[in-house]
C-alpha cells in the first residue's frame, strides 16, 4: 500500500510540475510582453527627447549661421573697421611687389636693368655730421 501511495505521489508530481511550468511560461510570457511594451514606450520617449534636443540644436545652429552671415557681410565688416578706427584698408597697387615664381633667365637677361639708386644729398649730409 505504502509503495502504491509512493507511486501515486510520483504520478501526481508530474502534472503539478507541468502545471507550474505552464503557469510559469504564461507568467513569463505575460511579464515579457509587459517588459517589451515598457521598453517600446521607454525607447519612444527617449527618441522623442533626442528629437527635441536635435531640433533645439538645429535651431541654435541656424541662429548662429545667421549671426555668422551678419558678421561676415562686407557692409558689417566695413562698419566694424570704421567703428574700431583700425585704419585698415586694401593695399594700393603701388605697394604690391610681384615676384616671378620660375624666372625665365634668358628673358630676364634681355630685360632692361632697373635704374641705379641715386644718392640723396640729405642722407650724405647727415652722415658727415
Amino acid at each position: 500500500m505504502a509503495r502504491n501511495r509512493k507511486n501515486d505521489a510520483a504520478l501526481r508530481a508530474g502534472p503539478v510540475l507541468s502545471a507550474v511550468a505552464l503557469c510559469a511560461l504564461f507568467a513569463g510570457l505575460g511579464l515579457g510582453y509587459v517588459w517589451y511594451k515598457d521598453q517600446i514606450d521607454l525607447l519612444g520617449r527617449q527618441i522623442k527627447d533626442h528629437e527635441s534636443r536635435l531640433a533645439v540644436l538645429q535651431g541654435q545652429n541656424k541662429t548662429r549661421r545667421v549671426q555668422l552671415a551678419i558678421l561676415i557681410s562686407p557692409g558689417a565688416l566695413d562698419a566694424r573697421v570704421k567703428q574700431l578706427k583700425l585704419g585698415l584698408g586694401p593695399t594700393a597697387l603701388s605697394q604690391v611687389i610681384r615676384l616671378i615664381d620660375a624666372p625665365d633667365y634668358e628673358q630676364a637677361a634681355k630685360a632692361p636693368l632697373p635704374p641705379e639708386p641715386r644718392p640723396v644729398k640729405v642722407a650724405l649730409a647727415a652722415r658727415k655730421n
Binding site: R45, P74, P117, R118
Partner: protein, 629 residues
C-alpha cells in the same frame, strides 16, 4: 412549515415549485435579455458601426504633422550668405482657454507682438462653428507669423507669470485648472521661418525678396526666378497623440522628412558688390541723379560679378520702399544709349570691310544735314579717322559710317549684338528693349541710330555688347547663377558659360579695341576713366532724355569700359539718369568707373599691364649706398 395534506396540499406544493421556477425563469429571461442587449450593443459598436467609431477614435488621436522645408540660401561665389532662413515661430492661441480674460491677455500680448489691441481682441474672441451637426468652439487662431524666437520666449515668460488678481489657493480645482491652462496652453507656438538678408541692401535687386506669407514665395530677383528650387519639398508625419497631446512615438505610421531647398550660389562677389555700391553712393551724393546703375561682368564668361542700382531697398522691409526703388533698372528700364552705341556701327563697318580705322570722314565742323534734319556734334570737328570718331565720339562721323553700312546691315548687326531681345539673364522682369524693324525706320533713322538715338536698350544689353568686343567678338549670355547646391554642400546643377554668337571677326575686334583704348586718354572723351596700372578700353555715352516726344535738357550719362584692354578681366558699365553737376559721361560716369575699377582690380589682385614708373630711391637705400662709398 406545515405538511400539505391530500390533493389540495399537493397542488399548493406544486404551485410553490412552479412559482420558484417561474422566478428562476424570469431571472434567466431578464439576464438573457440583458446579455442579449449587451451582445447586440457589442455587435452594433464593434461590427455594424465599426468604421464610424474607428474614424472618430482616429480623429481624436491620429495627427498628421507637416514638416516645412527650410528655404535654401542665396550665396555669393565665395559662400557669403545673401539670403538665409532663420527659425521663428507662429504665435497661436486657443480662445476657449482664455475665456473672460481676453482683454487682459490682449493688453499683455499687443506690445510684444507689435500689433494693435483691437486686432488681437478680435482674434481671441471665441467663435462657434458647426461640424457634423455639433456646435464647437474654435480652439485655434493664428495671432502672428514670423515672430523671432526671442519674442516668443518673452511671451512664454509673460504668460507663465500672468497675474490675474485672485488668490488661487482659495479656488476650486476646476478654476485652478482654468488658470493653469491659461498660463501654459492658451498661447502656444508653431515652427516657422523668417527670411533674412544679412547684407541688408547689398545686391537687393539681384537677390530680391519673398512675400511675408506662410509659404515664403519669392516675389522678385533670384528669390522669384529660383523660387521652386529654393522652396524645397514639405515632409509629413502621421502619428498618434495621448490625452495630453504628447506624441506616442511607437505608433508613428508615416514619417517622411522634408527636403530642404537648394542653395543658389551666384556669380556675384559680395566684396565687389560692396565696392560698387559704396562708389555708387559717393557718385549719387556728388551728382544727385534720379538713378545710378552699375554692372560688372567678366567678359570671357559673361559672369556678372556685381549688379547694383540706386535707389535700392532693404529686402528685410521691402514694404518700406517706394515701387521705384524696388525696380531693377538694369534689366527693366530702357533708354536711348547715346554714344556708347557707336561701338555697334563702327564694329559693323570694320567687320564688313566698308571702312578702315584710318579712313577719314568729314565731320562738317559739327553740322550735317541729312533727310531734312541737321545732326550736331558736341564740338565742331573737321575730318576725323574712324579711330578718332570713337576717340572724340563724333555723332556725324558715326552717322556717315551708318549711312555707308546701310539700313539692313546695320539692323542685322544690332540684332547680332543682342539688341531687341532679352539677354536671358536668370532674373524676372527683363525687357527686350526696342529695335524697330527696318520697314518702320524713318529716313533719318540710319543717321540717328548709329549715334544711339531711335533705339532703346537696357544697361545689361549694352554692357554685354561691350563684353562681346572685349571677348574677341563672342557675345556671351549673362550668367548670374554659378550652381545649385544641396544643403550639405553637394553640387546638384553647375551652370556653364554660354556663348551666344560671334558678332565680329577677331581682326575687327583688335582694331576696335585699339580705337576704344584712345577714349580714356587726354585726347578722348574720358580721361577721367584712365587707370594708373591698367590700360582701359571704353566708350562714353551722353544721351538726351525724351519727354512727351521731345528731347529735353536732361541726360543719360554712361561709361562702359574694360581692362586690361588686351586681356580683359573686367567690364564695367556705369549709367546715371539725369545727373546734376555735369552731364557728360566722361565727367560723371567715368570717374565712378575709375574708382570702382581701381578698387575692384585691387580686390581681385589683377596683374597690372602698365609697368609702374621707377620709384624714387628711398632714404634707406641712399644711406646704405652712401655708407659704402
Amino acid at each position: 412549515m406545515e405538511e400539505p395534506n391530500g390533493a389540495g396540499g399537493w397542488l399548493i406544493m406544486r404551485m410553490t415549485v412552479v412559482m420558484k421556477h417561474t422566478k428562476l425563469y424570469l431571472m434567466t429571461l431578464c439576464l438573457g435579455g440583458a446579455l442579449g442587449a449587451l451582445g447586440y450593443r457589442l455587435v452594433d459598436l464593434q461590427v455594424a458601426r465599426h468604421e464610424e467609431f474607428q474614424a472618430l477614435a482616429r480623429q481624436n488621436t491620429v495627427r498628421t504633422i507637416e514638416w516645412r522645408p527650410v528655404r535654401g540660401q542665396i550665396m555669393d561665389i565665395r559662400g557669403t550668405p545673401l539670403a538665409i532662413s532663420q527659425p521663428a515661430k507662429v504665435i497661436c492661441a486657443d480662445p476657449s482657454l482664455i475665456g473672460p480674460l481676453r482683454q487682459s491677455v490682449t493688453r499683455i500680448l499687443a506690445p510684444l507682438l507689435q500689433t494693435n489691441e483691437a486686432f488681437l481682441a478680435e482674434r481671441l474672441l471665441p467663435r462657434a462653428y458647426e461640424e457634423n451637426g455639433k456646435t464647437n468652439t474654435s480652439k485655434y487662431v493664428v495671432l502672428k507669423r514670423k515672430v523671432p524666437l526671442a519674442t516668443w520666449e518673452k511671451i512664454r515668460q509673460t504668460m507663465s507669470s500672468l497675474s490675474v488678481g485672485v488668490v488661487e489657493s482659495n479656488l476650486n480645482s476646476r478654476d485652478k485648472a482654468f488658470y493653469r491652462n491659461l498660463r501654459t496652453q492658451a498661447i502656444f507656438p508653431e515652427d516657422d521661418n523668417i527670411r533674412y538678408y544679412p547684407g541688408q541692401r547689398l545686391a537687393a535687386h539681384v537677390v530680391g525678396f519673398v512675400a511675408g506669407d506662410d509659404e515664403e514665395t519669392g516675389l522678385s530677383g533670384i528669390e522669384c526666378s529660383f523660387n521652386t528650387k529654393l522652396a524645397g519639398v514639405a515632409g509629413w508625419r502621421k502619428t498618434e497623440l495621448d490625452r495630453r497631446k504628447r506624441e506616442l512615438v511607437p505608433y508613428r505610421d508615416e514619417d517622411v522628412a522634408a527636403h530642404d531647398g537648394l542653395n543658389v550660389v551666384l556669380t556675384l562677389d559680395a566684396g565687389l558688390q560692396n565696392i560698387v555700391e559704396s562708389e555708387l553712393a559717393v557718385g549719387a551724393e556728388k551728382h544727385s541723379p534720379i538713378s545710378l546703375s552699375c554692372i560688372m561682368v567678366r567678359p570671357r564668361t559673361g559672369e556678372i560679378l556685381a549688379m547694383a542700382t540706386l535707389p535700392n531697398f532693404d529686402p528685410n522691409h521691402p514694404g518700406a520702399s517706394t515701387m521705384d526703388a524696388l525696380r531693377n533698372r538694369v534689366i527693366s528700364d530702357v533708354a536711348e544709349p547715346g554714344s556708347t552705341y557707336k561701338i555697334v556701327v563702327v564694329t559693323a563697318g570694320l567687320n564688313e570691310r566698308l571702312i578702315t580705322p584710318n579712313e577719314l570722314f568729314d565731320c562738317g565742323m559739327g553740322q550735317f544735314i541729312y533727310a531734312g534734319r541737321t545732326l550736331h556734334d558736341h564740338k565742331p570737328f573737321g575730318p576725323l579717322t574712324v579711330e578718332q570718331i570713337i576717340t572724340k565720339s563724333s555723332n556725324i562721323g558715326a552717322a556717315k559710317i551708318g549711312i555707308r553700312l546701310g539700313e539692313e546691315s546695320l539692323w542685322q548687326y544690332m540684332r547680332c549684338f543682342g539688341f531687341g531681345e532679352r539677354t536671358g539673364i536668370q532674373l524676372p522682369a527683363e525687357v527686350p528693349g526696342i529695335v524697330h524693324a527696318v520697314t518702320n525706320w524713318s529716313k533719318v533713322s540710319i543717321a540717328q541710330i548709329p549715334m544711339g538715338q531711335g533705339v532703346a536698350v537696357t544697361s545689361l544689353q549694352m554692357v554685354m555688347a561691350m563684353c562681346a568686343i572685349a571677348n574677341d567678338g563672342v557675345l556671351m549670355r549673362p550668367m548670374l547663377v554659378s550652381r545649385l547646391d544641396e544643403p550639405g554642400g553637394k553640387t546638384v546643377v553647375q551652370y556653364e558659360p554660354q556663348p551666344v554668337r560671334r558678332v565680329a571677326r577677331p581682326e575687327t575686334i583688335r582694331e576696335m579695341v585699339k580705337a576704344l583704348k584712345t577714349v580714356p586718354t587726354k585726347d578722348g572723351t574720358a580721361p577721367n576713366a584712365r587707370l594708373d596700372h591698367y590700360t582701359v578700353a571704353g566708350k562714353t555715352g551722353t544721351a538726351s532724355k525724351a519727354e512727351n516726344g521731345k528731347y529735353v535738357d536732361k541726360f543719360y550719362s554712361s561709361f562702359i569700359g574694360f581692362f586690361p584692354a588686351d586681356n580683359p578681366e573686367l567690364c564695367i558699365s556705369v549709367v546715371l539718369d539725369d545727373p546734376k553737376d555735369g552731364h557728360y559721361g566722361g565727367d560723371t560716369a567715368a570717374p565712378i568707373f575709375r574708382a570702382i575699377a581701381e578698387r575692384a582690380a585691387n580686390y581681385l589682385n589683377l596683374k597690372p599691364d602698365i609697368a609702374p614708373e621707377p620709384a624714387e630711391p628711398s632714404i634707406l637705400t641712399a644711406t646704405a649706398g652712401g655708407g659704402r662709398q
